[in-house]
């Protein structure tokens, strides 16, 4: 079809893609009532240019569609306003043009017919296409859902005296859009990811770099001059060297600047994503964006756009309720999805929040037990777990989102309140080029940990090991411990006592990573390990230290994940035995709580609901090493159970821990007389105390 200079073709595609992005923005702004007065003119001009260029370069289908758009927009221009109801047809026309210029030879007739039908210049075609009203809702929502408060555009003038819209929250003016999209082609639906290695840079940034380079040339001449005059002027020389340092920092800074772009450069597809999802699911939703001027590394921006679209679509499809449900809950029929970007520490937090139904209390509870909601919702396959996904309304592909941000050295957080909404936060590093690192040494080799993920560092003292899982007590809370060398599979001598440990927070968990020595923190330029090693997990890259040594930069979430693997491997290795413990209590919740605590510490746990059941288990399981029992139970109480255990020669030395709500001295005495090895009061119940007691008794055996 086109024997055309590939370079010209590339330019055509980029330009057309920019014009299409602008059309989408303006069409959506018109629907939202925030479009500038001359928007129809601008739309017409873009459609006209696309038609002309596409015809010339040899994409007749694209030219035909753009021509049909042009006709409709010309009519609209005469009336001074875009007729309502055209949004969907115009948006799908832009999609069709995008496909066409990427080489899809589809017939444009259907698109043209849809456009004309929407504009009322041709009888409506048979209802087809994905946007036909859902069968489930016969009282189908009018499409597009009319804005709540504003009457349909009967008035040719903008209905409200706010065309200058002084505060455009994330809705850049057409000029700004042109400038920003020129900087990075965000074409979400196109396939034009062809040349990720080339970037466009604003001339201002290049000019700044040129200034610094010019100054550096002068600096070099001044140095030369000073050196030729001999060393009589040492002070001047020092001064000159100092200014050289500043120039180098400036150079570094301006190159980094070239790698960064505002978030607004990728928000193009976002309003569309929210709108389309709302239309698909019969909901009403608006998108508000704040902080889109926040700067991020373009490499991060490139990949994160799709991820954010995913989260936005989730917010609409699973968060926001239908207008009826919202009305019943006393909310406005139109839901709000908010995207907010703001710096947090050395990271950028991008939060997508909705005012929808939130996740269920059941999921909340599971999240609380697992340590964080992220753990539950971003568990791979969570959403496909049938029943759960309906209840939760979240989690569709969140594991992929989480993996993506973690691979960039970031993280994910989720907060939710039933009935009030959900907020998903993506934490992203500002730049991949520079990173604040905590440098540590293990086995004589330096490693870097991203400083934002480091909570604190301290010297380890007493280590508790249970079931192959070492942990330490950090001001009352238990933190899992892992040897850095073991975590990544490196060589390393035995760790010295009181070695330093770094508490790292990642993937919603904390973990102490033990090393030989802390080397201090440093801002480092991050080097990639290269395409050959791109599939090697665990590293964010490498930094070159002042002495030329290479420090590998560790991915904190990898370390956290490795801990489970290492512990499991070690447990298998030491599988000489896992201690087996019996928990006896008539209350299901108490039994489950104790089972969880003990299993978490590496024990194998059996349960029984009363003394009779317990005796059956004890007879059946000769390997049993300890019994934890309640006193008050139906059938047979704990003290009677204890007497039976002590009365049998096979079990008379089996350790028994009583966990009871009876706190009196008399009760303790009776327990001890019956032969209990320990007595824990439920009211003072503390999982650490239980684990210590159980660990001590089993070790003594």
């Amino acid at each position: 079809m086109n024997d055309i200079d590939p370079q010209l073709l590339q330019i055509f595609r980029e330009e057309t893609s920019e014009r299409l992005d602008r059309i989408v923005d303006l069409v959506l702004a018109t629907e939202a009532g925030t479009a500038p007065a001359d928007s129809v003119d601008a739309l017409f001009r873009d459609a006209h240019s696309i038609k002309g260029n596409a015809g010339m370069v040899g994409f007749p289908a694209a030219a035909t569609i753009a021509g049909a758009m042009e006709d409709i927009l010309e009519d609209a221009r005469e009336h001074g306003a875009l007729p309502p109801g055209l949004t969907t047809a115009l948006l799908s026309a832009t999609d069709a043009i995008r496909r066409s210029i990427q080489g899809d030879d589809g017939d444009p007739a259907a698109t043209v017919a849809e456009l004309r039908a929407a504009a009322g210049t041709e009888p409506a075609p048979a209802p087809n296409g994905p946007r036909a009203p859902g069968a489930g809702s016969p009282a189908a929502i009018p499409e597009p859902p009319p804005p709540d408060l504003e009457p349909p555009d009967t008035d040719p003038e903008p209905p409200h005296p706010e065309p200058p819209h002084p505060e455009p929250p994330g809705q850049p003016s057409p000029a700004a859009v042109a400038e920003l999209t020129a900087a990075a082609p965000p074409s979400s639906s196109s396939l034009s990811g062809a040349s990720p290695t080339s970037v466009r840079v604003g001339t201002a940034k290049i000019d700044r770099l040129l200034d610094v380079v010019g100054e550096t040339v002068l600096h070099r001449r001044r140095l030369d001059h000073l050196l030729r005059r001999g060393n009589e002027d040492e002070e001047r020389l020092e001064e000159e060297l100092g200014s050289g340092d500043i120039l180098l920092a400036d150079l570094q800074d301006s190159v980094i600047q070239m790698r960064t772009l505002p978030l607004s450069s990728i928000i193009g597809p976002f309003p569309r994503a929210v709108r389309d999802m709302a239309a698909e699911t019969g909901k009403q939703a608006k998108l508000e964006m704040h902080g889109t001027e926040t700067q991020l590394d373009r490499v991060i921006l490139d990949g994160v756009s799709e991820t954010i679209v995913h989260v936005l679509r989730n917010a609409v499809s699973h968060g926001i309720e239908t207008p009826e449900q919202r009305a019943a809950a006393g909310k406005a029929p139109e839901g709000t999805v908010e995207l907010r970007a703001e710096p947090r520490g050395g990271l950028v937090a991008i939060t997508v929040s909705d005012d929808g139904r939130g996740v269920s209390t059941e999921i909340q509870e599971r999240g609380r037990r697992a340590g964080s909601l992220v753990e539950v919702l971003a568990e791979p396959g969570f959403s496909t777990a049938g029943r759960v996904s309906d209840l939760s309304g979240r989690g569709v592909g969140l594991d992929a989102v989480k993996r993506h941000v973690e691979s960039l050295g970031g993280g994910m957080e989720i907060a939710s309140e039933p009935g009030r909404g959900t907020a998903v936060t993506l934490l992203l590093p500002l730049t991949l080029a520079l990173m604040e690192l905590l440098l540590v040494e293990r086995g004589g080799q330096p490693f870097g940990l991203p400083l934002p993920s480091v909570v604190e560092a301290f010297a380890i003292d007493t280590v508790t090991t249970l079931g192959g899982r070492p942990s330490i007590d950090l001001r009352g809370s238990t933190v899992a411990l892992i040897d850095l060398a073991e975590a990544i599979g490196a060589a390393g001598e035995e760790l010295a006592p009181r070695s330093p440990a770094v508490v790292v927070s990642a993937a919603g968990q904390r973990m102490a990573v033990v090393c030989d020595r802390l080397l201090g923190d440093q801002e480092a330029v991050v080097k990639t390990l290269g395409p050959l090693l791109a599939d090697l997990p665990g590293y964010l890259g490498a930094a070159i230290l002042g002495d030329g040594r290479v420090a590998l930069i560790l991915e904190p979430s990898f370390l956290v994940r490795r801990r489970a693997a290492v512990a499991a491997a070690r447990a298998r290795e030491e599988a000489s035995h896992v201690s087996r413990v019996l928990v006896v209590d008539d209350q299901f919740t108490v039994r489950e709580l104790q089972r969880r605590i003990l299993e978490g510490a590496g024990y194998e746990v059996l349960t029984a609901a009363n003394g009779v059941e317990a005796l059956e288990v004890i007879t059946r399981e000769p390997e049993l090493e300890l019994v934890v029992t309640d006193i008050e139970m139906p059938e047979m109480d704990g003290l009677t159970l204890l007497q039976h255990i002590r009365g049998e020669p096979d079990t008379d030395t089996l350790p028994v821990v009583i966990v009871s709500s009876r706190a009196g001295e008399e009760d303790r005495r009776r327990g001890a007389e019956a032969g209990a090895d320990a007595y824990v009061v439920k009211a003072e119940f503390d999982q650490r105390a239980l684990l210590e007691t159980v660990g001590r008794l089993i070790e003594r055996r």
Binding site: G489, G530, L533, A542, V550
Partner: protein, 135 residues
């Protein structure tokens, strides 16, 4: 058909690397171990500010002879870089003879030059053999 190769000695054997894939020859220098990488990867090396993976050519080829690499041949293919550790780099030579086919998937073939058998390395195949499989 003549082609230019960099000749290197590995575990007592001689191999040729097509010069269009060779970007530089360097001293072995300090190689930082890279835990978790395939065993052929000795680690990474700082080469004037960029980090390059280093592979042992002897291990890649499965050679059992004694070897203590001293030098690096930095190779490139389709944007991928890999430094191959060898004992010695002898010279750059034009090879005119048609190579005999070889059984090794890592070789284009082998030629006899002045009584010395030279294995002609397939750089692309070497790189694939050195790269880790996904998680």
């Amino acid at each position: 058909m003549s082609s230019t190769h960099v000749r290197a000695v590995v575990a007592g054997e001689t191999y040729g690397l097509p010069i269009e894939h060779v970007t530089e020859v360097a001293e072995l220098g300090e190689v930082t171990p890279l835990p978790g990488a395939p065993s052929v990867i000795m680690g990474v090396r700082n080469l004037r500010g960029s980090v390059v993976p280093v592979a042992s050519l002897a291990v890649l080829l499965g050679l059992s002879g004694d070897h203590s690499p001293q030098r690096l041949i930095v190779t490139e293919d389709d944007g991928r870089r890999l430094a191959l550790a060898v004992e010695d780099v002898t010279d750059v030579t034009d090879i005119d003879a048609e190579p005999e086919p070889s059984e090794s998937p890592l070789l284009h073939g082998a030629v006899l030059v002045d009584g010395v058998l030279i294995g002609l390395l397939d750089i692309r195949a070497l790189m694939s053999a050195a790269s880790p499989r996904g998680r």
